[in-house]
């Protein structure tokens, strides 16, 4: 395996790992740095990786560990919850009525997701956004597949309750924001 092979790994997986970290972090620069660090670590360990390894799952595991360490060091400075704003700005822009409703609901969901404890949030994003199976998520989070499943379940419950409790208020508030 030469550097060419790793280049194909970058081409195949960087967009997704970057998207994952973009979703987990507050600032784009954090996602840039963490995804770079993820691939630099992967590059160093790549040769030792067995041929039949699941490279994608492996990269998610590295990214998740780096992110976890990053959160721990960031926590002292507590800039974490800005994540909602970051993802919302991505989808900003004017659209038809249905699009507005979608965006509001989405913002609500993202708000709940951003406030989830680390394990629930990671398990949810890996399962629902990146479609990893529970075995892989379990390995990434160093827990059992059942625990991974339970974390996703808890996340979904909180989202549901979040939409229940805040849907009306939240939507009104954002309607005000959006109407000139």
């Amino acid at each position: 395996m030469g550097p060419e092979t790793f280049e194909t790994v970058v081409a195949a997986h960087h967009p997704e790992i970057h998207r994952y970290l973009r979703r987990m972090t507050a600032r784009p620069s954090e996602a840039d740095d963490l995804s770079q660090e993820t691939f630099l670590r992967a590059y160093r360990a790549f040769r030792a990786l067995p041929d039949d390894a699941n490279v994608r799952a492996w990269l998610f595991a590295i990214a998740t560990n780096l992110f976890r360490n990053h959160v721990r060091s960031e926590k002292r400075r507590s800039t974490l919850h800005a994540a909602v704003l970051a993802t919302r700005s991505e989808s900003a822009g004017h659209g038809p009525e249905g699009e507005t409703v979608y965006r509001e609901t989405r913002t609500l969901i993202e708000g709940v997701v951003a406030a989830l404890p680390f394990k629930q949030r990671t398990a949810f994003v890996l399962r629902k956004i990146h479609d990893l199976d529970y075995e892989t998520i379990a390995r990434t989070l160093d827990c059992s597949a059942d625990s991974a499943r339970a974390n996703v379940f808890q996340a979904l419950r909180k989202i549901r309750h979040g939409l229940n409790g805040h849907a009306i208020e939240g939507m009104r508030a954002s309607e005000k924001e959006l109407t000139p």
Partner: protein, 317 residues
């Protein structure tokens, strides 16, 4: 939110799984039977399905990673140029480290009995990104073992001299690499070869820091008197072993028996007896190359001198 009925609470996990399409068929059937009877859970199922749909749409979000990816690729390119993969292997001379870059073999190091990496060049060079990967250098190791076993008389490896300390050192190493198997020459001879005839001490220093011992055969460079002088710091004994292996000196000897060896000069085509007529009058006697046997001289592409005929009057071995 009103507290859930106990039956509804127990089925909630299955209900979520059903909404997301992850439930086993049995569980899904249980859920469907339950929601037939329970309006609030029916509503829940609908909500969970709606959330699943929403989340599905969120997947499609793209983030532009192009700048980040380009920076990464530039970093990787830089790392690739600095990368040195190495392995540590047992050998008759003790643990040996063999390292290579993309350009060629760049490091062979005697590690001492414990195979201790602490004194290795690897940790001292910021321009090198060292990664252990024995497989990447195992082929070199096998050839090196064959050489140390006397079954191989050349190591035609691509070499990367980046770990040499200066361009002067690189020049010394290149000149040394040209000394054939089984031959010896003097430090002064190498100094002449690189066009600095007075620099034999600097040549000795350059060879002391040779990052590629054995491969760049600094053991074939000895004092003008035939004394072994030094090797890789304090390892003169290894030098003796390598020279004996190549047939340039007896295993128990303490110096190169120059008077009892075949003689030639760099870029000459023939080899002579030490008594050949031109030898006492040679302009640069320190440039002599000595061979321990005719076999080695001829393996190096030399033919017997037609004046002194070493083929007809071989030296007693």
């Amino acid at each position: 939110m009103s507290p859930k009925h106990p039956g509804c609470a127990t089925i909630e996990a299955d209900l979520v799984a059903t909404a997301t399409g992850e439930a086993a068929s049995e569980a899904a059937q249980r859920v469907h039977a339950h929601v037939e009877r329970c309006g609030s859970c029916r509503e829940d199922l609908g909500r969970y399905r709606a959330i699943e749909g929403m989340v599905g749409r969120m997947r499609a979000t793209v983030s532009d990673d192009r700048d980040a990816r380009e920076r990464l690729i530039a970093r990787l390119g830089d790392l690739g140029r600095r990368r040195l993969t190495y392995g540590v292997f047992p050998s008759p001379l003790g643990p040996l480290l063999i390292g290579r870059t993309a350009d060629g073999v760049s490091l062979v190091q005697y590690l001492g009995p414990e195979g201790d990496l602490r004194h290795s060049l690897l940790g001292r060079r910021p321009d090198v990104d060292a990664i252990e990967d024995s497989l990447a250098v195992e082929g070199f190791y096998r050839e090196l073992l064959e050489y140390l076993d006397g079954r191989r008389d050349h190591l035609e490896w691509p070499l990367d001299l980046r770990l040499a300390r200066s361009d002067f050192h690189r020049g010394v190493l290149r000149a040394t690499a040209a000394i054939p198997y089984g031959a010896v020459c003097s430090y002064a001879g190498i100094a002449c070869e690189i066009g600095k005839p007075t620099a034999s001490r600097a040549v000795a220093q350059a060879l002391r820091w040779n990052p590629l011992p054995i491969v760049v055969p600094c053991h074939r460079v000895v004092g003008s008197s035939g004394a072994l002088v030094g090797y890789a710091g304090e390892k003169v004994d290894l030098k003796r072993r390598l020279l004996a292996l190549e047939g340039a000196m007896p295993p128990e000897g303490t110096r190169i028996p120059r008077g009892a060896m075949y003689v030639t000069m760099p870029r000459e085509h023939c080899y002579c007896l030490p008594t050949c007529t031109w030898i006492p009058t040679a302009d640069h006697p320190h440039r002599f190359l000595f061979f321990g046997s005719r076999q080695r001289a001829e393996a190096a592409g030399l033919t017997p001198c037609e004046d002194c005929r070493p083929d007809l009057h071989p030296l007693a071995s």
